[in-house]
């Protein structure tokens, strides 16, 4: 699947209500090639409004989305974009104002539809009076997991998330990272077919984050569909197959991580050892040399321009060691998309766009 700007949802354009023919057309577009019955998650024309007194806040505005089985999907967005609301609607925690939501083909508000669905909420709080083990047992029982299975599974999961030997401690004694890892163990209790993770590495140190990532990769290998909602773009980039960017309650960009992070025509040209070329000499029609620091980073209008550059370097008897397409970090794409949306809306209500920094991440 290639990345796409979701057309009729662009900022600044007039938008129909979620269930309007316009949005149904968008849904048809988004679902093109996707079997929504077979999809793990299918969202069509989803709208959600909250009322605060007389004020109405539109958290989701005609969202269309489909996530295939076994896929690892990342939902990105600035604070207040509607990410958590979308996850809550997908889990039946909040009722949609309009549109339709199907999780494994069923309405998630029905209790039976939530069988074998794991959820790690953002800022979750296990009851402080429980020990880690008792918390897992309680939520395992509520999920309908048999006692025998829990006896076997709880120690395994505690070990998996690095809490072996700490299961008997009260939750009140857990650090934030430990609580987060216990939450992940809780989400994995009934061997979920779909796993929803809302800021899974929030407050976790780099070592713990690595452990969580390893657990997710192992979970994915078992064929579990994973839906991640996160600010940490580097984490998303490493883990997800496909992402969607949510802005002001609308999906504004969607695609595979590879497609989104491959810019149109940006290349790195590395010359042979000890060789260099003056960037100003190489710039020409349809060719901009972005950087000459060690190797050349060039932006070309088309492939012909790239080949002209190669010809010029060869004419100067320079040896070319490598020509490779440059990939942008997902964070760059994210900021570019949001800035584009702000420009299109004609108001930059974000100020300078920033994302939460990831101290342990980055490519």
């Amino acid at each position: 699947m290639v990345s796409r700007d979701v057309p009729a949802q662009g900022a600044g354009r007039s938008r129909g209500p979620a269930g309007s023919p316009e949005n149904k057309a968008i849904a048809a577009d988004v679902y093109a090639g996707v079997d929504t019955d077979a999809a793990a998650i299918a969202v069509s024309g989803l709208g959600k409004e909250y009322r605060h007194g007389r004020r109405r806040l539109r958290a989701l505005d005609g969202v269309n989305l489909a996530v295939g089985r076994g896929e690892v999907f990342g939902l990105l967005g600035a604070n207040g974009a509607g990410k958590t609301t979308l996850v809550k609607v997908l889990l039946g925690l909040a009722r949609p104002t309009s549109g339709e939501v199907r999780v494994r083909g069923r309405d998630p508000r029905r209790a039976a539809a939530r069988r074998r669905i794991g959820y790690l909420p953002e800022g979750h709080r296990f009851p402080g009076y429980l020990t880690g083990e008792a918390a897992l047992r309680l939520f395992g029982r509520l999920a309908g997991v048999a006692e025998g299975t829990l006896d076997q599974r709880i120690p395994e999961l505690l070990d998996l998330v690095g809490l072996a030997g700490r299961g008997g401690d009260r939750m009140g004694r857990y650090s934030k990272g430990m609580t987060q890892r216990l939450g992940l163990a809780g989400a994995l209790l009934d061997e979920p077919e779909i796993l929803f993770l809302d800021e899974p590495t929030d407050g976790v140190d780099p070592v713990g984050r690595r452990r969580i990532r390893d657990v997710l990769l192992a979970t994915r290998r078992r064929g579990t569909t994973i839906f991640i909602n996160s600010h940490l773009l580097s984490e998303v980039e490493r883990t997800c197959d496909r992402v969607a960017i949510l802005h002001q309650g609308r999906v504004v960009r969607e695609g595979t991580v590879a497609d989104l992070t491959t810019p149109a025509l940006r290349y790195r040209v590395r010359l042979g050892e000890g060789q260099s070329a003056a960037p100003e000499r190489l710039a020409g029609e349809g060719l901009a040399v972005v950087s000459g620091n060690g190797s050349l980073e060039v932006e070309v209008a088309d492939l012909a321009a790239l080949n002209r550059l190669v010809d010029r370097l060869r004419a100067d008897h320079l040896l070319i060691a490598e020509v490779s397409p440059l990939r942008a970090a997902l964070e760059d794409v994210f900021i570019e998309v949001l800035e584009g949306e702000a420009r299109a809306a004609g108001v930059s209500d974000h100020g300078p766009l920033t994302t939460d920094h990831d101290p342990g991440g980055g490519r």
Binding site: L93, R125, P127, L130, A134, L138, R141, L142, G144
Partner: protein, 276 residues
């Protein structure tokens, strides 16, 4: 198993928050004071007054005098336990729903494959078992202490646990509604106490309504009387029943139960409709 898990969770929470221990401590203190009080000379003297040459003194038409003395004492205790038991039970369970609805906690419960109705009623059942056990300890303890001392076993005193429990259940339904609507523990505790107190003047609803100038005001008093729990009347009937004078009237019990059931039903509907 899900229901059992919710009941166990309720007990664990009560234990961890010291509400269960607090309830037991106050009850134990009450029983201890009663035990010491019954060993006072004045009590022994009163009991001796009911016997003649070691045999129970009979009051014509009323049975043994000692039984009347004991029943009177028990009716006083029943009235005290009616107030104390309900107040303690409300205090012990008032935080249940607000705690469940804590942001970050409710998500963990509600996203499990269990209906919200089942979740709320499971917690309700947990509270009922908790309070029933405590009331049995408190009232049963008083019954055993008084009966062992006097050798008069008046089963009516034990039956009095049922109306106490019924009034508590009615308040619990109300607390669940307040808890779901506001997520506030103080409100969940204060409002049932307010209803309890309000029922005292409302017991004289006919006289109050007759004394009012406004027909609207009089109507409002009558409506309030019929809607709200009739704790004052149930308390009065309770003491009369323990004394062996009356049988509790069905109407106050039925309307009090109906109030609780409607509140609980409304709490379930609101909980099901709520966005978390």
């Amino acid at each position: 198993m899900k229901t059992w898990a919710l009941i166990v969770d309720t007990w664990r929470e009560a234990l961890a928050r010291y509400t269960l221990l607090g309830f037991l401590a106050v009850s134990s203190l009450f029983l201890l004071v009663l035990t010491f009080a019954l060993n006072l000379d004045i009590v022994d003297g009163a009991l001796a007054a009911g016997t003649l040459f070691g045999k129970a003194f009979e009051v014509p038409g009323k049975g043994p005098a000692i039984a009347t003395v004991v029943a009177t004492g028990q009716s006083v205790f029943a009235a005290m336990l009616y107030v104390l038991g309900v107040f303690l039970a409300v205090f012990a369970t008032g935080s249940q729903v607000p705690n469940l609805q804590h942001r970050g906690t409710v998500d963990l419960y509600v996203t499990r494959p269990i209906s919200r109705t089942h979740l709320l009623l499971g917690r309700f059942l947990g509270a009922v078992t908790l309070v029933t056990a405590n009331l049995l300890f408190l009232c049963g303890g008083v019954f055993v202490i008084i009966s062992a001392k006097t050798h008069v076993w008046n089963p009516r005193f034990l039956v009095a646990i049922a109306p106490i429990l019924l009034v508590f259940l009615s308040f619990l339904g109300f607390m669940y509604l307040i808890g779901v609507a506001t997520s506030s523990t103080p409100l969940s505790i204060m409002l049932p106490y307010a209803l309890y107190l309000l029922s005292v003047p409302l017991a004289a609803h006919d006289r109050i309504a007759a004394a009012m100038d406004s027909r609207l005001g009089a109507g409002a008093v009558q409506v309030l009387y019929w809607i709200l729990p009739k704790t004052a009347e149930i308390g009065r009937d309770l003491t009369g029943y323990v004394l062996g004078k009356t049988t509790p009237a069905a109407l106050p019990l039925a309307t009090t139960a109906a109030f609780g059931a409607v509140c609980l039903g409304a709490a379930v509907v609101a909980f099901n409709r709520k966005n978390f």
